[in-house]
Amino acid sequence: MIDLLFPAIISCIVAFLVVFVMTPPLIKILEKRNFAVKDMNKKEDVMVVRPGGPAIIAGIIASEIVLYAFLQMNEIIAIIITTSAAFLIGYVDDRKVMGGWFKPVALAVAAIPIITLGAYDTDLAFPLFGTVQIPALYLVLIIFMIPITGNTINSIDVLNGVASGFMVIASFSLSLCLFIIQNYEIAIVSLPLGFVSLAFYKYHKIPSKIFPGDSGALTLGAMYGSIAIVGGVEIIAAVALLPAVINSFLFLSSVKRIVEHREIKGKPVDHTDDFRLKATNDKTAPITLVRLILAGGPMTEKQIAFAIFKLAIFSGVLAVITAFMMGVKL
């Protein structure tokens, strides 16, 4: 454990600094190229550049290479390849409008390196009840896991700072859980995700200077899913991600098909005169987490973001409880 301390500290510093230092010049480059979109939740015509994915992936690759130099684990290579593939998929979607099926299918392909590098264990661990061996079924689970986590984080990227702030809470909760179940090596491998998200949050929080875009959100989500698989903490990871899962579940159960947000015609939320957000009564619009939060009355963008963070902290606590329950057998 002590011998892992030095690589852990170095990789966390690298993860944070790369994103923290690289994002301001990236913002300037994107401004020069006019890669900007209107921030729909601002009264004035505010344009925000995107995507921040290149800074995020740079931080992840740099920190994981540092860790690989010390640990030489196949799991790190699998995480780097799958996460980089997710970044490329997101970047394509940032540049060119793709169909609703493109990202899930492409992300399923991105999960293949985890299988080919053998960076997984076919035992699925559940709290209180122990493990179940599902060799063939687990391969299907891997193929589904990366598209689910990638798109789940992407779907929650709706307000300033929410995706990166949510990932800070969820990924640090997951790292803590990995320490609790004494999977120290993967715990350390997972730490850069939290630090990358934290550094990006500095520029993404309200008022955003940059949006992560699909490349940023898919990168964060795919790395989270990869860690869940290589760390054998699929259930704990799902628990820590529950608010985002709820958002996807509500969306899919109301729309009843896989579809891009931009293809939805109904508006789930609208603005009041003072530009707070309010839920609409549009029956054709999907039910989302934000819409449910706003069902109690109009709120500012910042208030909604903090409401989502509170839910993320609650899920993080449930994930930690679940991790402790892993050591208990009925």
Partner: protein, 76 residues
């Protein structure tokens, strides 16, 4: 609304724990013999079918839970 969301989160968590118990006790012991090299494959197919049924049941329960918790709020 916010307390409803926390309740829904807790409900999902409870469903995951209970679902895990069902998976371990139901799927875990399944093993097939008499088909030679195909034993593991047939056992996997059976496990996959049961797992899919459990997922569908889980989603249906979750939908009911959602409608029950948010029945006052969801007018849309």
């Amino acid at each position: 609304m916010k307390s409803g969301l926390f309740g829904f989160l807790f409900g999902m968590w409870a469903l995951i724990i209970i679902g895990g118990g069902i998976v371990v006790t139901l799927l875990g012991p399944i093993s097939i013999s008499g088909f030679g090299d195909f034993d593991w494959f047939i056992a996997s197919v059976i496990k996959a079918v049961i797992a899919l049924v459990l997922v569908v049941v889980w989603i249906l329960i979750l939908s009911k839970l959602k409608n029950w918790i948010f029945k006052k709020e969801i007018k849309f």
